[in-house]
Symmetry: C2
Subunit: 347 residues, 2 copies
């Protein structure tokens, strides 16, 4: 038998053949998001009897939370778990990997990535950063954040100092608001002191832990800038290309497994958290129609500017926008009608 | 080195260590559903360098399409891909694995299975059939079928002869309709001749291929009996227990991968198919409000009966209904509002 000639893989069962380090953008307290990173790593180890081990790290442990793409690009680490839109300052095209204002929801994001242009177009773009992207989780549609005062009309956005991330901040700015960049751990105090008027974080499950409802009770929806916030794994191209075909298949399937698990966790945990928030005084409000309309108009304006200014953006946006348009046409029929009926029942 | 002592796995790289046969309930023409079976098998083979091979078979090739659970139960095959509700005649509890009328949509089904009682409760039930179930695909919310004449009121359901599957047929019967069991390949002719008045199949992508719109142009939505039709892999318990921990992890992740891929395929393909159907004369109609209300009332009545008559059903239903209720409360806020806004835009 040819056993001895190919025996080397068997040796490694007692110690890993391959050890990767995976920095993330998350504190461990974001247990659903950091949990997706852990679940992905465990799935890879389980599928290989520990021969391929990936160790996750919280933000800042080995790499700053917002420098994951850089660390993957320059080969400091083999893989990282992050939200691509944190890197929109390098190029706004990164936004598509996570979410752009009025982009697709969870289902459409997943379908665009898997079956339309997403994977191919974005991975072509990620090559410039020596990275291979993999679908790895989603939060679902986020909430629109916490406000000290009610937002009754689009005029109330003028001068509003709001903690809001990258891309959405640009839209808020076009609406007359003042976007602020504040780390998660400092938001509560800034809201309490009135240094800022509003802040967006994630959704009920994560927001409850930080207690924003105690200092800014108006809880708006929907989070139009994050209709389905997708997470990304970035693998260094050289490290990826060096993987065996089995290990490539294993990290791809493990990512899908973590992707399903993360969305399911948010869905399972948000309802109870929302009930608690409301019981503790959170006041749920939909954004006024003129706020939504203006935000939409300003977003589309921004995209048109980017289409003319940025070739990378333009290359992805056409496919993305066409897909979103076709999908929203179809989804308004059976999916939306079924959901609306169910949501109207006393169950 | 300990190489020679543990060399046997390495030998097998040239020929599979493990070969399973996987009958399915699908003709190959249902390329999205049968495709999920193929993708799952390929993912397992790819992750093991061909050491673990699962061969999919179309319905009837080695096992009749509706006898998958039986074949898994008695060990004729190690694994099968099917929709659990086909077996509701054995026990209606099987319905939860796929879809029951007014059950959860794709997101809620996935969340219930993965993070609430689904996996644990149903796998406890499947033990009676020597089977371990795995999440393996979804069609999304189906359409409500094709009708020769318009349905203007719930009175039009009286006497309606409709091709409709198992559980939904019981509800239709309670509404005065006459459910018919007709294989997919014979529906067109039955509609054309008027032997039946209506038929439900899946959604635009699959329905277009069978051409029902030419003989029954009224295309209703939503498919209230299939708000998110989930597919199942059943693994024979003995075969499952004999798997190594790695292979258990590999089939679990491969199922999740196929699950994501299948829903994404339906989402990506349905919009173009719907456009074609409408261009070829299909007349899209929402079910009248009184039809929906009566179907809901009769479904809840049926569930209450089953709660008192069937212990297995009762054990699952409580958890399922509570989860559905909590979820529909939460989803009406940010998710539904975001989707409704997007669907109302001219994009």
């Amino acid at each position: 038998m040819a056993a001895t000639a190919v025996a080397s893989p068997a040796i490694a069962q007692s110690s890993p053949e391959l050890k990767w380090r995976m920095p993330t953008s998350w504190p461990k307290s974001l247990d659903t998001i950091y949990g997706a990173a852990e679940i992905m790593c465990k799935a890879v180890s389980d599928a290989t009897d520990g021969k391929f081990q990936i160790q996750p790290f919280a933000a800042g442990e080995i790499v700053p939370g917002l420098a994951i793409v850089d660390a993957v690009q320059n080969g400091t680490v083999e893989i990282g778990h992050t939200a691509s839109y944190y890197y929109f300052g390098k190029d706004p095209t990164f936004g598509f990997g996570t979410s752009v204002p009025f982009g697709p929801n969870f289902r459409l994001n997943q379908a665009w990535w898997t079956q339309a242009g997403g994977d191919a177009l974005l991975n072509d773009f990620y090559k410039k950063y020596n990275a291979r992207g993999l679908l790895a989780g989603n939060t679902g549609c986020q909430m629109g954040g916490w406000y000290r005062k009610e937002i009754k009309t689009v005029a109330d956005i003028k001068g509003l100092k709001m903690r809001i991330g990258g891309f959405a901040g640009r839209v808020l700015e076009r609406m007359g608001g003042v976007p602020q960049n504040i780390p998660g751990g400092e938001i509560y105090q800034a809201l309490e002191k009135g240094t800022i008027d509003a802040a967006e974080w994630i959704g009920p499950y994560d927001d409850l832990k930080l207690g924003f409802h105690k200092v800014a009770p108006y809880y708006y929806y929907p989070g139009w800038w994050e209709g389905g916030l997708q997470l990304d794994l970035y693998v260094n191209r050289k490290a990826y290309d060096a993987l065996s075909a089995e290990n490539k298949a294993i990290i791809e399937a493990a990512s899908a497994y973590a992707h399903v698990d993360m969305q399911a966790k948010y869905d399972a945990r948000n309802p109870a958290a929302l009930k608690q928030l409301v019981a503790q005084g959170a006041k749920l409000r939909p954004f006024p129609a003129d706020v939504m309309a203006e935000a939409f108009k300003q977003s589309m304006g921004l995209y048109q500017e980017l289409n003319t200014k940025n070739q990378n953006w333009n290359k992805v946006y056409g496919d993305y926008a066409r897909f979103r348009s076709d999908q929203n046409l179809w989804f308004r029929f059976t999916e939306a009608t079924f959901d609306r009926f169910m949501q109207a029942q006393k169950l």
